[in-house]
Symmetry: C2
Subunit: 187 residues, 2 copies
DNA sequence: GTCTATACGCTGATAGAC
DNA sequence: GTCTATCAGCGTATAGAC
């Protein structure tokens, strides 16, 4: 690993590929985005994309993966954790992350993508939540809460269509939060 | 393996294509299953697959879609609806249906597949549930319950790995059922 | 009306020369 | 490191034989 002037980036080319890949995958999904299109948008040769990232699926995982951000806040009070989690997930500022999750799920037709998604959810969320939950069956309950949040993120575009205003969005936070809270308190 | 008698429109060839498509999509997913492989398994020419079903995505929707079965039982008592729904969804006898759902979600990278999935969920489940729920915000609550069940079906293979025995499965029905029941009662 | 043969333009990926 | 050339496989269209 050579160290260059910039802290995070390696080569400029690699960065350019990653940037256009991130944008195109997010906008059009995995299948509809071709390696050639990514290369064209980045102004490089298609073969370079593979040279740098080994395969399209590894590029996707590298670029869409739950890389750095800490996952939902789990440090708040247990009594309101359900609500906190839902508010976090539906936060308009986190739109891009939510879309990235949905994009990964919809690309999980692919084995490597599915495995990466499961591992990331485990490390960044389920294990930490398991440690945080009180009472019995903590591992199962953490898994179930993750399933509920996954369903919410996945279904959110459809759900949002049926909402009239921001008050309705707040109502969703209340309703879904209370439902998850039942799992937090179930131990 | 014999092919059943043709219904009104069906030719034997069409049936054979549908049968092998259903099996291969279920086993390997959408992307990994090629039109040519379906044709080979059915013993027909690849072009015939397209002739009969117009496109790969339409074949997938026709064959994997929520075609006939009535969707979850919504006619039981409201007081235990949450539990009933979860028990229905996790019923080992319904393994194939659950897998089909997950396969469709994972193929929903594709616009037509995603649209079909959303429409089917609406017609077969959400609209009926909306009519059944008491109180306020019934449409939103029905949508949220659908999201929770979707998350459960999607996450079930992973969840099942963390369960030790059938008692744990029963515990999941209790826990998740109670959580959904909170949405049923929230009106 | 089925069905076969062939072909087109795309895909992700590789080998090897600069 | 980068580019050229090329690969086998994909979904699909079409022309024409039964």
């Amino acid at each position: 690993m050579s160290i260059t002037a910039s802290p995070v980036t390696g080569s400029t080319t690699r960065e350019a590929i990653a940037a256009s890949a991130r944008a195109m995958f997010a906008e059009r999904g995995y299948t509809a985005t071709s390696v050639r299109a990514i290369a064209a948008a980045a102004g490089v040769d298609p073969a370079l994309v593979i040279r740098h990232f080994v395969s399209k699926e590894q590029l996707f995982v590298a670029v869409m993966g739950w890389t750095e951000n800490p996952g939902p806040e789990l440090d708040g009070p247990l009594e309101t954790l359900g609500r906190t989690l839902v508010a976090h997930v539906l936060d308009p500022a986190r739109d891009a992350e939510r879309r990235a999750y949905a994009t990964m799920v919809q690309a999980s037709d692919n084995d490597a993508v599915r495995a990466s998604l499961r591992d990331a959810a485990r490390v960044h969320f389920i294990d930490r939540l398991t440690a945080r939950l009180p009472g019995a069956d903590v591992a199962v309950r953490a898994e179930l809460i993750a399933a509920q949040l996954g369903g919410l993120m996945q279904g959110w575009p459809t759900i949002a269509e049926t909402l009239a205003d921001d008050a309705d969005r707040a109502r969703v936070v209340d309703l879904y939060g209370a439902s998850i809270q039942a799992l937090v308190d179930a131990g």
